[in-house]
Amino acid sequence: MSVAIHIVDGPLQDATNYGAQNSLAQTATNIGATLVFEGVVRALEGARHIRALEYEAYEPMASRTLAGLAQDILATHGLISITVEHSRGQVSVGERSFRLSVQSTHRKEALAATDEFITRMKCDVPIWKSPVYS
């Protein structure tokens, strides 16, 4: 069981280690499901077109809260691993600002954990976003 949190400056790059290919999976043979959710900046914020979103993270509380939430979700849903990546600073339309990667034995807990993680993150984690207009 493992938890990893990364706050990254600017947009997220491609994930290098997905699901079954990563080092954990090579030893954990009870992984039956991997789920990768990515949040992408959309062109419309409400009714207005934006160029980017600016993310402001209150550190170290943001990382700590993400880690606490991830630990709690890992335990509650019986996951094998959970990795969280979140941008701070400017992320343009079409770029990714958030990635949640989950490994579990079955699909149900991966889906339920993802849903609960994002809902609670939006409520509790001190990361604010502001629109950047063209």
């Binding site: 209150y58 170290p60 509380m61 943001a62 604010w128």
Partner: protein, 90 residues
Amino acid sequence: MGTHCYTSIVIVRVLIFGELARELSCKEIAVDVVSTAKVRDVNFALAAKFPAKSQLFQTARLAVNHAFTSPDSPINSSDEVALIELVGGG
């Protein structure tokens, strides 16, 4: 033979972020509270300072030293207080 009440006053600085910081054009609000104040007294002091945002400040969650705390927790001037409201990461 009256009774003398000595109540010392401390200044607590509250960090604010996002839309609220832009709206108020500041990143930090200083409020005066008594030295025996609890977290909820900081809420009340914020609400008194910005009557137009009274509702928000009275109910806003305050983090003390990077953790959410109970409204009953004590507060000191050396504490780092942050208003964690209207977040929406992801």
